[in-house]
Symmetry: C2
Subunit: 217 residues, 2 copies
DNA sequence: TAGATTGTTAATCGATTAACAATC
DNA sequence: TAGATTGTTAATCGATTAACAATC
């Protein structure tokens, strides 16, 4: 019955997904502030985008607003978190218990958004058996094995990246957050997001001097 | 004299800068492997882009190749690192000496690319005076003061982000790597790169289920 | 010279934005 | 109803890619 013409589900652009995560954060804030309804103008401003961008982004997933009024915050928040799957917990496997891995294991933002690190693996015997955040570090040699993990985080040294990534994939992980500088080619079955710190700093280094040039001639 | 028609320096697209950092890494690898000359086809393949993309990206900065031959690796590496300012050291100020900040302070990738963390600040008296990687943690209340830092890294709790960012800006930092989830509006004088871990995980969560849907109907 | 590969132009593609009819 | 704001279409913008003349 009145179901809207599905298969408007044309391919969703990647930038739209990324912005959806931003909208989610804004909506959570509005919810906290007990705001009942928000206009596209207002939320777009908070998210740092154009109002038409916001409406267009939502339009890939359906209709969520009331003409002449705006968007009911609780309802939209529920819908966006459902789209991003943030309405359910996600089991995360972490590879690498060095400085970075340890920091990530304790990162408060993760649990707040429903991401639970349930496994930590490390290649070094010195690390294996230690507890980090109530999780006992296992040996990497215990992989691959079926984990039932939704996401994987790669925080091993760059040289170990390829092998470690493959262990996760062979353990059934289909989405990977990669902190090693390495480029991973894992096929279309696996989504990879790269966080490359030196890459970011290189881009900043370029801009820092560009800005200085703009100041002194 | 024979200087090529400058002011081809039209605005350089942001994605180009980001890819330049990738090319830099590839070139460093080729250099290590003693490769003397590389074609756009070969290096583009390694960087995961189209050959024409690579050539177009370079064209914003000049001509670096030899027709019929390819690009001399050592020369191109020098030029790219000069464009990205990676041929000189960068002084970095770090705000936040928690788990993440501490991990970043010890990150081996930074020093290898010429980024030197020279200052660490933290608000907590418990942290002040401690040494991390041979650097004594100073109190945030010692800021703002002119640092002569090129880059800043923000690794404080999200709630402290805005204030901490302003301290760095008031200390003369014009380029900022922001690990807090907060959106910073610091004006056009300051470049900000955001690394938002929960944001990345949210995008991955979406893709992970998309992929599962693709497998089971 | 013949073959290869660059640098650049023009065509294509996709994402952003403005505009507006639909409608609460 | 009049005013406001959505959802969507069409126009704009910018980035990617293909094609090719220049030239080593």
């Amino acid at each position: 019955m009145g179901r809207p013409p599905m298969e408007k589900r044309s391919r969703v652009p990647e930038p739209t997904i990324s912005r959806l995560a931003t909208y989610f954060r804004c909506l959570a804030e509005l919810q906290d502030q007990q705001v009942a309804v928000v206009s596209s103008e207002e939320i777009a401003f908070r998210a740092g985008v154009k109002a038409s961008q916001f409406r267009k982004d939502l339009s890939y997933f359906g209709e969520f607003g009331v003409q002449g009024l705006g968007y009911p915050v609780p309802h939209l928040l529920r819908r966006v978190s459902s789209i991003l799957q943030l309405d359910q917990a996600h089991k995360v496997a972490l590879l690498g218990a060095g400085n970075l891995g340890t920091a990530l294991a304790g990162f408060p933002g993760f649990s707040r958004w429903g991401f639970q690190i349930l496994w930590i693996f490390d290649a070094s015997p010195a690390k294996v058996g230690q507890s980090i955040n109530q999780i006992v570090v296992e040996s990497s040699s215990a992989l691959p094995r079926p984990l039932g993990a939704d996401l994987g985080i790669l925080a091993v040294p760059t040289q170990a990246a390829r092998e470690a990534a493959q262990l996760l994939v062979d353990s059934g992980v289909t989405a990977l957050l990669n902190f090693t500088g390495a480029h991973l080619h894992l096929g279309p079955q696996v989504t990879v997001r790269n966080v490359d710190l030196t890459h970011e700093l290189a881009v900043l280094a370029y801009h820092a001097t560009q800005l200085q040039k703009a100041v002194d001639p």
